[in-house]
């Protein structure tokens, strides 16, 4: 019991429940299946991003280029598939977007590991370059006529129900992708040498080098995987909203990093879990989605997330500095 009480995830789960009851208590609409299903659906994209950010934060780095990579990946994929009038299986666009994301992620890894540059500044640079390149040379127009396989994917529900007023609501199948990827990332981080290496590198880079860990390889692995997850999140996002908009997801890095930090990952590296991250994502999605339900205008969304992030990081930092003394 004592062990459970000390776990970050336990407290996060309590806060999540508490907030759900507060929001649900002030507005019954919160508990409606329409709202709950839509909350789960909106946590998919953010969740996939968060898994990538978790990896990079555990490795002791940071990545703010992933929304740019996601947009680049899905936009090019959709544009190309429209050009060849694609009608094949939905796996193809996913694989393509993921591959583009991976390549971009490997570019980050190359810059960081070869020239020993700071991840924040590298990803700031690559993010800006990739966004600029996309909008200057590929296109700025929103593509609204997505290839049919992607539209079918967005309609995929694992559970549907007809409400009394005749409208049909469904639990989006895209949530399964988040579950699968979460399990995969958790497995990699916990059970594989590479994953343990990522923790070791984030815990103490010098020690990791001296212990003979293949640090450059770990950089390529981490940032490559972040890129792959960004590409996947991108294509899921564009499929779910049925639009490929090159101006999308701007500023998403902020909320995702907030979620991962809320989930207990430490920005100094070496610490963080998949379960905490997913809870953090749920918390941010809940806050974002519930402001209107409790009567707070959406204008306050940024303030609310800012306050939550500042409080959470301040508490974590304060607690760990106390613990250190």
């Amino acid at each position: 019991m004592d062990k459970i009480l000390r776990k970050n995830e336990f407290w996060l789960f309590c806060i999540l429940l508490l907030m759900a009851f507060i929001v649900g208590g002030s507005n019954d609409a919160f508990w409606s299946r329409t709202n709950l299903f839509s909350l789960f659906k909106s946590s998919v994209v953010m969740g996939i991003f968060a898994l990538g950010v978790l990896l990079v934060i555990v490795s002791g780095g940071i990545d703010i280029s992933f929304p740019a990579f996601a947009v680049f990946s899905f936009y090019i994929t959709v544009k190309y598939l429209l050009y060849i009038k694609f009608t094949g299986p939905v796996v193809i666009p996913f694989a393509m977007s993921m591959a583009i994301g991976t390549l971009l992620g490997l570019m980050n890894a190359f810059l960081i590991s070869t020239f020993k540059l700071i991840p924040l500044i590298v990803t700031l640079g690559t993010g800006s370059a990739v966004t600029g390149f996309l909008r200057a040379f590929v296109g700025t127009g929103t593509l609204s006529n997505l290839p049919q396989p992607l539209i079918d994917f967005s309609r995929w529900n694992i559970y549907t129900e007809t409400l009394s007023d005749g409208s049909v609501i469904g639990f989006s199948g895209s949530f399964l992708i988040l579950i699968a990827l979460s399990l995969a990332v958790a497995f990699v981080l916990r059970r594989t040498t590479l994953g343990r290496g990522v923790y070791a590198m984030g815990g103490d880079l010098t020690a990791a080098v001296r212990a003979g860990l293949p640090v450059p390889k770990l950089y390529y692995f981490t940032y490559g995987l972040v890129g792959a997850l960004a590409g996947t999140a991108g294509i899921v996002h564009c499929s779910l909203i049925r639009l490929a908009n090159p101006r999308d997801l701007e500023g998403a890095e902020m909320e995702v990093i907030a979620a991962v930090v809320l989930g207990g990952a430490s920005l100094t590296g070496g610490k963080g879990t998949v379960s905490g991250t997913i809870l953090g994502v749920f918390l941010i999605v809940l806050i974002k989605g519930s402001l209107i339900l409790v009567g707070i205008p959406t204008d306050w969304q940024k303030v609310a997330i800012g306050v939550v992030l500042i409080t959470a990081t301040a508490l974590t930092a304060y607690r760990s500095s106390k613990g250190g003394r």
Partner: protein
């Protein structure tokens, strides 16, 4: 007074290289655009454009000297300019006589200074007292400050300043634009602050080795707090120039300045890990960026193409610095 020119003559690392890059950019643009770039009109317009970025870059340099970063600067600038705009639009009676308007303008300047320093104080408090990593602290406060600005304005631009106010952003004294004069004054003040005061020397020491600085009796927390407050103050002033020059205040104005100010600082020879950098480097770097930016505009580059170039430029400069440092080591 030593402005660091001696260091340039001696070939101090990246600054000589930077001056060369700036000169090359200048010559390139003059060669590509002889009729439009090399004109009095263009130089005049450039001298009004770069000071706000220059001031933000000085603030960014201050944070980077201690090994930190301040992502909230543009948020602070916009919040300060919006609050100032509210004073004009909501509090100042319309048709106030000249003297009253001047008092209000002085009040708005004081307000911007106060807002900037308060925002900086919160950053400094989070970073130095609660030990929140600077990236996270300022990422959070950026969200908070921008969020407050959005709540206040509902995302719309606030317009309707008294004509006198535009002097700050558009006026000239003895042929020099007021923003340029403000920038040069701040640059001089910064050089003195960093080179001639204990505070400045402590900043460099903290950036080189925070632990050693702490053990040698430097009040690290206090120095960090003050440095983020000065950064906020600078952002507030930049906000004034921005709102006065564009005659409007908006919550999402100038968001690209964050990347650009980091670019200017890194280009100007500030080490992102802290402990090294000169104010004079900021001047040369911001000029290089302005030459490029104006030149690109004249060559009809889109803003997106510029964004692409800034990103690539930032990475290229970091790589070049890496090779220079490697060579110096061997």
């Amino acid at each position: 007074m030593n402005f660091g020119f001696g260091k340039i003559a001696k070939g101090e690392g990246n600054i000589r290289q930077l001056s060369f890059i700036t000169l090359c950019t200048f010559i390139l643009m003059c060669w590509l655009l002889p009729d439009t770039f090399l004109t009095v009109r263009n130089f005049r317009s450039m001298s009004f454009q770069f000071p706000e970025l220059g001031i933000l870059s000085l603030a960014m340099m201050l944070a980077m000297l201690t090994g930190g970063i301040d992502l909230s600067l543009v948020g602070i600038a916009n919040l300060a300019s919006i609050l100032g705009a509210f004073v004009f639009v909501k509090i100042m009676p319309p048709d106030s006589p000249e003297g009253v308007v001047l008092v209000y303008i002085a009040g708005v300047v004081a307000l911007a200074v106060f807002v900037g320093m308060s925002c900086g104080l919160l950053n400094g408090f989070l970073i130095s007292r609660l030990n929140v990593p600077p990236i996270l602290a300022t990422l959070g406060t950026m969200q908070l400050y921008t969020g407050i600005a959005i709540v206040l304005t509902k995302g719309a631009a606030v317009i309707g300043f008294p004509a006198r106010y535009s002097v700050i952003g558009n006026g000239s004294v003895a042929g020099f634009g007021v923003p340029l004069i403000i920038f040069i004054l701040l640059l001089t003040a910064f050089t003195v602050l960093l080179r001639k005061t204990n505070f400045g020397i402590n900043l460099y020491l903290i950036g080189s080795n925070a632990k050693a600085a702490l053990f040698s009796g430097i009040k690290v927390g206090k120095v960090l707090m003050i440095s983020y407050m000065i950064g906020g103050l600078m952002a507030g002033l930049a906000g004034l120039i921005m709102s006065s020059r564009t005659n409007g205040a908006k919550a999402d104005y100038g968001t690209s300045y964050i990347l650009q100010s980091i670019l200017v600082a890194v280009l100007g020879g500030v080490k992102p890990t802290g402990g090294s950098g000169y104010a004079i480097g900021i001047l040369i770097a911001v000029l290089a960026l302005q030459f490029l930016s104006s030149g690109f505009s004249m060559l009809r580059f889109s803003n997106f193409a510029k964004e692409f170039v800034w990103g690539v430029f930032l990475l290229a400069i970091m790589i070049v610095n890496y090779f220079t440092n490697e060579r110096n080591k061997s």
